[in-house]
Symmetry: C2
Subunit: 231 residues, 2 copies
DNA sequence: ATTAGGACATGATAATTATCACACGATAAT
DNA sequence: ATTATCGTGTGATAATTATCATGTCCTAAT
């Protein structure tokens, strides 16, 4: 968790157009002055469930998991998020404490702005507020739709779904390094670790994927898609 | 689906304070002029998945289900909503077509306002926009949290969870008439109809509930809660 | 160097859930 | 009146998933 960025490069920020598109250049430099950038190594916790929400946070770079702890302290994973799928947005306007934890899975950079400042901006600039709303809706809609998809599949279908998700949405490559453990996959799809491992092993035996530890190579995407669809 | 309400009684509306609290009396009478009220009988469809979103809709009275159709045309139920848990909000700002269907389970009254008008209000009145955001976040947070709860439970725990939900959140009574079929319960908790029936039968045999068709009487709420928690 | 713990892996067995078959009553359609 | 359909209900059996046991490999801690 290392402090960064004194210089104001917000106008260079790739994310600027995404949800600051309705903020003028002068206002943007104001934001630039007060924003803070932070880096997190894989495994580091960005946000801890139960903490008060003080900052508005968005993902600039990296990959994170959103999770929640059950009463018997097991972890349930809600979603994985990359830049543009926002993070702190979820509970920001419905609660004053975080309902979910956020943990880095890959080296991650976030940008933080004091929440009160964002609220003032939103009150002054309705188009900005509308943009925020769209982002909230999109992020939560994704989570809800994805969870529905997973719910209707069986073990193999769920694991296939996840592999396709990483290949197509996160890495844009049929070969990638799993950024999560087998247990995390289990916590996400709602099955046991053993069964996740078994499903992966079967995919390997059926020559649908190759496995070298965390490295996955999808050999037969078509079959994986069929399994995800019918499973 | 019967047209209603010419007279402007928005200032009498119980919901007014909830999300129109930042709209002045003069603006409110403008809204009142353009709003439309509609009634739906149980089983009638308020919103059909795939339809364009033209109206901003909120529940004034009644009970609805939010659902989505899978590719093999099975129904998945996302949530049940009563007034204050908003409805059309979900996809309103993230898409221009509805991603979910909404169906009345009990006699239901909705209030509709042209979406463009609402957007103009939101742009003019930032506090109103902030209120809207809170509502969206709350509604979606509820769905996400509830689905997580269900995910970690087994068959009996899920059925118990649903019974408690109806008793405590919808009817405020340990005795109530199920507003849904056994199949709809199954579509909600992600199990088969037969197993939902079996779970209910077992609760009956164990004297935890009484069943007269759709009428349910919870005899032992404590035991039901234990089942919901541990199940 | 040794120990402890965690991630990955596999097999055996138990528990849970789905599927199929059948039945009955109510209701809608003709 | 009769057929068809749907919701409810139960039992038998099959399929799926969880649990428990065990082992290996790797890494962190001492």
């Amino acid at each position: 968790m290392e402090e960064m960025g004194k210089k104001c490069d917000c106008d260079q920020c790739q994310l600027k157009t995404l949800f600051f598109s309705h903020i003028g250049t002068d206002e943007l430099s104001d934001i630039c002055e007060i924003k803070r950038e932070e880096n997190f190594a894989p495994g580091e916790i960005l946000i801890n469930e139960g903490e008060p929400i003080r900052e508005f946070i968005y993902l600039k770079e990296g990959l994170v998991k959103l999770s929640k702890r059950t009463k018997n302290s097991k972890e349930q994973i809600l979603s994985f998020s990359k830049p543009f799928d926002f993070v702190s947005l979820l509970s920001v306007f419905s609660s004053d404490i975080y309902k979910y934890s956020v943990t880095a899975l890959q080296p991650t950079t976030i940008c933080m702005i004091n929440l009160e400042v964002v609220k003032i901006f939103a009150q002054r600039n309705a188009m900005f507020a509308m943009d925020l709303m769209s982002r909230i809706s999109e992020a939560t809609d994704k989570i809800i739709l994805d969870n529905l998809e997973i719910k209707r599949k069986n073990l193999k279908g769920r694991v296939a779904h996840l592999l396709i998700y990483f290949a197509d949405n996160i890495f844009n490559n049929s070969e990638f390094e799993l950024p999560v453990s087998r247990r995390e996959i289990a916590d996400y799809i709602g099955m046991t670790t053993e069964n996740v491992i078994r499903a992966l092993s079967e995919f390997r035996k059926d020559k649908i994927i190759k496995i070298y530890g965390k490295d996955i190579q999808v050999l037969d995407m078509q079959r994986l898609e069929i399994i995800s669809e019918l499973g």
